[in-house]
């Protein structure tokens, strides 16, 4: 992958030292006027073929399958008069003077462009990227962006699910359907396996979010992943507000917030040494509301629990927790049947639902806009532990 033929017959891969002291980076111009070819996309085929299951799955959501030559509606470019090409007239090309050149792009267009740029940079410069994929809305959006970034090729990297064992069954189903549909490989790091063989112990409070770190780091090492995409956003948490888009991790997966590389313009420095890897956060600059507006605009499929549904729940710590195999009411807590939805998807035992009638994406956009609570404040017990709960987990290698 990303190999370049160096005059003299050797093959250098990105970052490899070449006799004579040079270091080749992917696509780097090699003295003699040649440019190292960027062949990374080809890896998509290899990975895609791993899971033949996906081939027949070509439905509905996400990328509009019209494919061919017809122009689809470009909702995003709709501001400048006449700038958007919103018909299906085919390829009557742009020499037409009536197109404005001053189209104003809206915030979602710009955020999408930034995210796709980041995803392509990482795929071009790293050997073995992987996307952390929980089936939650943020990782779903990153996967959708990746599909757009490489269309009509497949997404050229696998996804990794850190499975707490405390899953919503509908989220696991969604996860499996999604990877099958896109024809990509799924890697799973199982917290349950670690508990079963004693490498990890269950916590007194029962939450497994902090237990994800070790299986995650082991899976990164086992997959030799040098870049790990995540759907984290800076608006989620104060510690995440200080995070870089491309963020270096040492051999222990640790984040050193006081010693981060400055990130300027859109030049991302992903240089790393053996054992280090980077975390890449393409939607760093998105807010929760941006994510929902984008899901609505693009018609992206989500697990059903994001939409209002009836569920048996009980109140604890100011949240509605679901009755399930791993979460049950204590004495004094009463179970009620309520119409709820989830704003985030995490460990079933500590992720709260919110009372909501929002059954459609436009309902959800309106609801999120009107919300007086952040999504983590409303739904994550583990982030209420302390002012620095997220920072501490991140320093230890959490995503």
């Amino acid at each position: 992958m990303s190999e370049s033929i160096i005059p003299g017959g050797r093959v250098a891969s990105a970052g490899e030292a070449i006799p004579g002291g040079r270091v080749a980076s992917a696509g780097e111009a090699i003295p003699g006027g040649r440019v190292a070819p960027e062949a990374r996309i080809e890896t998509a085929r290899v990975q895609g073929l791993d899971t033949g299951a996906g081939a027949s799955y070509s439905t509905t959501e996400n990328l509009d399958t019209g494919a061919g030559a017809s122009y689809s509606t470009t909702e995003g470019l709709d501001t400048g008069a006449g700038a958007s090409y919103s018909t299906t007239e085919g390829l009557d090309t742009g020499a037409d003077a009536s197109y404005s050149t001053t189209a104003t792009l809206d915030a979602l267009d710009v955020l999408e462009a930034e995210a796709i740029h980041v995803i392509r940079e990482v795929v071009a410069e790293f050997e073995r990227p992987v996307l952390l994929f929980s089936g939650g809305k943020d990782s779903v959006v990153v996967l959708h962006l990746a599909a757009k970034a490489f269309w009509p090729a497949k997404v050229p990297f696998p996804v990794l699910h850190v499975d707490t064992g405390h899953n919503f069954p509908e989220v696991l189903r969604f996860r499996d359907e999604t990877v099958a549909r896109l024809g990509i490989r799924l890697e799973v790091a199982s917290v349950q396996d670690y508990l079963d063989d004693g490498r990890l112990q269950e916590r007194a409070d029962g939450t497994r979010n902090p237990l994800q770190t070790q299986p995650l780091l082991d899976a990164i090492a086992a997959g030799r992943h040098d870049a790990v995409f995540g759907g984290a956003r800076r608006d989620e948490d104060k510690a995440r507000a200080k995070e870089r888009i491309i963020s270096l991790r040492d051999e222990f997966g640790q984040w050193d917030p006081r010693n981060q590389r400055p990130e300027l313009w859109s030049l991302y420095n992903g240089r790393h040494t053996v054992g280090q890897h980077v975390r890449a956060f393409p939607i760093s600059n998105w807010t929760e509301l941006d994510v929902w507006r984008y899901i609505e605009r693009e018609g992206i499929a989500l697990p059903p629990l994001y939409f209002a549904h009836e569920r048996d729940v009980y109140a604890r710590d100011g949240m509605w927790l679901a009755v399930s195999d791993v979460s049950a009411p204590r004495a004094g807590e009463t179970v009620e049947r309520r119409t709820v939805r989830y704003r985030t998807v995490g460990d079933l035992s500590c992720t709260g639902a919110v009372v909501s009638e929002a059954a459609t994406l436009s309902d959800i956009v309106r609801e999120v806009a009107a919300s007086t609570l952040t999504e983590r404040g409303a739904t994550r017990a583990d982030d209420r532990l302390s002012e620095a709960a997220m920072e501490d987990r991140k320093k230890d290698g959490y995503f």
């Binding site: 070819p37 990374r40 399958t65 470019l77 809206d106 400055p262």
Partner: protein, 476 residues
């Protein structure tokens, strides 16, 4: 030591009704009632700005005010900040809130009461979504200013009306000028503490104008504000009837973004990130009929850094210099007739040109001359000094090449704005250097082309970002 000493807000005086929002920690979950105005659901344009200031000029309060008044701080965040403020006995008055706690995200920052790193905050008014890069004023000020300002459409520099223009104000504005940030706003803060005195404001505004003139900053907007009391931050204030300009937020909503200002002026540049060739590895959503057409599909993926591209446009490809025609523009599966900066697209070309990562697709006739040598202003970011003879990597666009620092021609004195000779550049220094490159770069002067004129200097062994550079015309 605390940057935000004095940045405090009594809830009574500004209506931070933390107590009133009882919806937090109830079991109601999402309370969609009318207890607070709804944030806008419409998507406006995106505007990036940075805030910078000196110690104790009230920057944290201003940022907190902007976020609070635009409903970007939700009840649980406010409650958390209020609780911490109370635990630390902040301010002494019940309900007093330390706004700095909203932006100081790291434990070390909260413990020391200083801001270490740039923090990014987000809010929206419906007309615009804002990305705010909050740059700490005193630790690593150049590093943080450069980082926060590099992509900013505007920089808001705070000045305490009682102190006027300080050395640090001068440095901040010099960095803003070097980076060609399109808009400069000087917020003259704490105007309430001088009794909304017009003369006090006018004196500072005159100093700012003189400094802007010295620096060659075209139009600096100067606004009298009180971040604490809210004057002219979101709403125009009745306390400053002698000021007839916009409030800070009104101005931020009005100003043009870099892309709005420059897209039409600059020629097309699209650095190729990678080539999409899906033979055999088609996305499963591609129909069989379309798959045949896409068999030999080859598209050049990248972000449009400047200008506009239309289907049918003639283009040239760096470094080969081959001329061809754009036959297709796609954003994902969606075919576009045209696209402008800063969209990420994939271009199809009429001829089978040799263009891989590192190539640049440019409007025909605008191809930049290849450079093997760069003269540049560099902002030294690393603690290790940069000296003549250093072997480094230069990352420019989608290309990384080896380079040698062949000459350090001087260090910019931000106080006198003169260049003085020096042997090496220390952290936070801005210097004029010459770099010899191992391969051609499509670099252009930053003054003519922002994104084609910017680069990083990287340590070849440990990969640290040593410096940020902007290409200048070779000095005589």
């Amino acid at each position: 030591m605390s940057e935000h000493i004095g940045d405090r807000v009594a809830s009574a005086s500004v209506g931070l009704d933390t107590g009133a929002d009882a919806s937090y920690s109830t079991t109601e979950g999402l309370d969609t009632g009318a207890s607070r105005p709804t944030r806008p659901t419409a998507t406006g344009t995106l505007f990036r700005f940075a805030t910078a200031g000196s110690v104790d000029d009230g920057k944290s309060t201003l940022v907190g005010r902007l976020l609070h008044d635009s409903k970007a701080i939700l009840a649980d965040q406010l409650e958390s900040v209020a609780r911490t403020s109370a635990e630390r006995g902040f301010g002494g008055e019940p309900g007093a809130i330390d706004f700095a706690l909203l932006t100081d995200g790291l434990r070390a920052e909260r413990e020391q009461g200083i801001t270490i790193d740039v923090a990014y905050r987000y809010f929206t008014t419906g007309r615009r979504s804002f990305i705010l890069a909050d740059c700490p004023g005193h630790v690593q000020y150049t590093r943080n200013m450069v980082t926060g300002s590099a992509t900013a459409d505007a920089v808001v520099v705070l000045v305490d009306v009682r102190n006027g223009v300080l050395e640090q104000t001068r440095r901040h504005l010099a960095v803003v000028q070097l980076l060609r940030v399109p808009h400069v706003i000087v917020a003259v803060n704490k105007i309430d503490l001088v009794g909304y005195d017009r003369a006090a404001f006018d004196a500072v505004a005159a100093d700012v104008a003189a400094l802007a003139n010295d620096l060659g900053l075209p139009d600096a907007h100067v606004i009298p504000v009180s971040a604490l009391a809210g004057d002219n931050v979101v709403e125009r204030s009745a306390n400053t009837p002698w000021y007839d300009g916009p409030s800070l937020l009104e101005l931020l909503e009005e100003l043009s973004t870099i892309d709005e200002l420059e897209t039409d002026l600059e020629a097309l540049r699209l650095p190729v990130q990678l080539v999409i060739r899906p033979q055999g590895g088609l996305s499963p959503d591609v129909t069989d009929a379309a798959a045949d057409e896409l068999r030999d599909h080859r598209a050049f993926a990248g972000r449009i850094e400047s200008g506009t591209v239309k289907v049918g446009d003639p283009v040239e490809v760096f470094p080969a210099g081959v001329r061809t025609t754009v036959t297709g523009i796609r954003r994902g599966p969606e075919a576009l007739a045209e696209a402008s900066a800063p969209l990420s697209v994939a271009l199809e070309l009429a001829d089978p040109v040799d263009a891989a990562r590192g190539a640049v697709i440019a409007a025909a006739g605008s191809l930049p001359a290849p450079r093997r040598e760069l003269d540049a202003d560099v902002f030294q970011l690393d603690a290790r000094p940069l000296a003549t003879g250093a072997r480094v990597l230069v990352k420019h666009g989608t290309t990384t090449v080896q380079a040698i620092v062949t000459d350090i021609r001087g260090r910019l004195d931000l106080d006198t704005l003169e260049t003085t000779p020096t042997a090496s550049l220390a952290t936070n220094d801005i210097g004029l250097v010459r770099l010899k490159l191992a391969a051609d770069l499509a670099a252009e002067p930053y003054a003519a082309h922002r994104r084609a004129g910017a680069f990083l200097v990287i340590h070849p062994q440990d990969g640290a970002t040593l410096a940020a550079g902007i290409v200048v015309e070779a000095p005589a």
